[in-house]
């Protein structure tokens, strides 16, 4: 997964009053316009560094936190095959977190500092993981739809301008295609199953559609100088609304084909090819991002618990000569 389709905007100027060298800025922007990748030791504006770092870091946190609701269900997977798939998927997600932390480290922030910002609530992660996975059908819905949403976002971001992030995403997208397929497989198994299985799946779909899935890509972007710059720098590759439309176009028909319903009477494809849908409650979205969701407290508490209780092992293996090092790639 898990993508962090929605990156919390932060329009504050990076470093107050800092003005970039116009000549270097022009060369930098021309390189991006030509489709070149920016590599860690290339010159980049402070604002670019800050925004890319923020995006990769939030994405990394989302992978790690996202493994928690699914990890919960490993011990209760219904068959050995589903259990193997879920273990493999959860391990991949944690692996993605590591790949992304590594990419973020190339921009100069240490892994320890990133984890501190997560467990102290300073950094954000994808809102969708602040909702509970109540039944096995939730795992099918997450594996299918949340991973599908993540792929829409990550395929777009893989064409972005920061080299290490693009390379991490290439490998991540490859593994996501397995996540999506195993999720779809689990989803279909319930959809073509007994009436009780279908009812369980419908219940999970209803809960995950509104609000988490409809919140997934974030509110429609406001057109601002800030957004326009992020698009020109190829940090943001697609608008939130375009990603949502892409997702609806690809996946709503797959859900309807199985005779399952979505809890939005307004949902339909219009003649111009765009999907019409009911706007979710965006106030709730911001409330949950800022800590007041059903699972925010638990997710961070679990993460803090793991760091605190694993500390004695890490400390026992620390050596005084260890050097802080920004990886080359």
């Amino acid at each position: 997964m898990y993508g962090n389709a929605y990156i919390e905007p932060d329009a504050k100027p990076a470093i107050n009053g800092q003005v970039e060298d116009p000549e270097k800025l022009e060369i930098f922007e021309a390189r991006i316009a030509r489709g070149e990748k920016i590599e860690p030791d290339d010159w980049m504006p402070a604002e670019y560094r800050r925004q890319v770092l923020r995006m990769i870091e939030q994405h990394a946190h989302s992978e790690i936190i996202g493994a928690l609701p699914e990890g919960t269900w490993i011990t209760r997977a219904p068959t050995l095959k589903r259990k193997l798939a879920l273990i493999a998927k959860v391990q991949d997600e944690v692996g993605h977190g590591h790949l992304l932390y590594s990419a973020a480290e190339t921009l100069g922030k240490s892994r320890e500092a990133m984890i501190n910002d997560l467990i102290n609530g300073k950094s954000k992660y994808s809102n969708i993981f602040n909702y509970p996975a109540k039944s096995w059908a939730d795992i099918a819905v997450i594996g299918f739809l949340v991973d599908a949403g993540a792929i829409v976002n990550q395929l777009a971001n893989a064409k972005g301008s920061y080299g290490p992030y693009c390379r991490a995403l290439e490998r991540i997208c490859y593994e996501e295609s397995f996540h999506l397929k195993q999720g779809y497989d689990a989803f279909v198994a319930l959809a073509v199953g007994t009436p009780a299985q279908r009812a369980m799946l419908q219940d999970a779909l209803n809960r995950w559609w509104f609000p988490p899935m409809m919140h997934f890509f974030g509110p429609p972007d406001t057109i601002s100088v800030h957004t326009e710059k992020l698009m020109r720098w190829k940090v943001k590759m697609m608008s939130n609304e375009d990603m949502r439309q892409d997702f609806l176009e690809q996946y709503v028909p797959k859900i309807w084909e199985l005779g399952m319903t979505l809890p939005d009477p307004a949902l339909k494809k219009l003649e111009d090819g765009k999907w019409q849908y009911t706007q979710p409650d965006w106030d709730e979205f911001f409330r949950v991002i800022n800590g007041d969701g059903p699972c925010n407290k638990e997710r961070l508490a679990v993460r803090r618990y793991a760091e605190e209780n694993g500390r004695w092992v890490r400390e026992a293996m620390m050596k005084p000569e260890m050097k802080r090092m920004v990886p080359y790639a």
Partner: protein, 134 residues
């Protein structure tokens, strides 16, 4: 809006009573190691990413999990990132004339051209001889 965890293992951990985090210290997640992946015997090891580890032995164990869990792998190398020496990219103009050094390349020695010219010249001399004889 907070509800009790649905996961019995998390309920048993009694997270509410666990202490607040004092934060990670510098280097608590150890050092980065560069990982090089080999997909068949004799093939070049290719850089695939980094792992954080306290020593080479654990770096290999983590590298196996992170970069050898799918598809074909026959071996992995790990190297402490701080042991890798590299040029600065801003100095890359030192390599810029290398592609122009055709004298280091077979393509820099177009002998056939010279032979063809020689053979053409010979033919021309022969033609002139024949002309004079007639």
């Amino acid at each position: 809006m907070h509800n009790e965890s649905l996961d019995p293992r998390i309920r048993r951990a009694e997270l509410e009573s666990s202490p607040a985090s004092s934060g990670l210290q510098q280097n608590e997640h150890w050092e980065p190691f560069a990982v090089f992946h080999q997909d068949k015997r004799g093939a070049a090891h290719e850089f695939v990413g980094i792992v954080h580890a306290p020593d080479a032995e654990l770096a290999l164990a983590f590298a196996k999990e992170q970069f050898g869990r799918r598809k074909k792998t026959v071996n992995l190398w790990v190297v402490r990132s701080s042991d890798i020496y590299t040029f600065q990219h801003e100095d890359d103009d030192m390599f810029s004339t290398a592609p122009e050094k055709t004298y280091r390349d077979a393509s820099g020695y177009p002998v056939r051209k010279r032979i063809n010219k020689y053979l053409d010249d010979l033919k021309e001399i022969e033609r002139q001889h024949l002309q004079r004889a007639s």
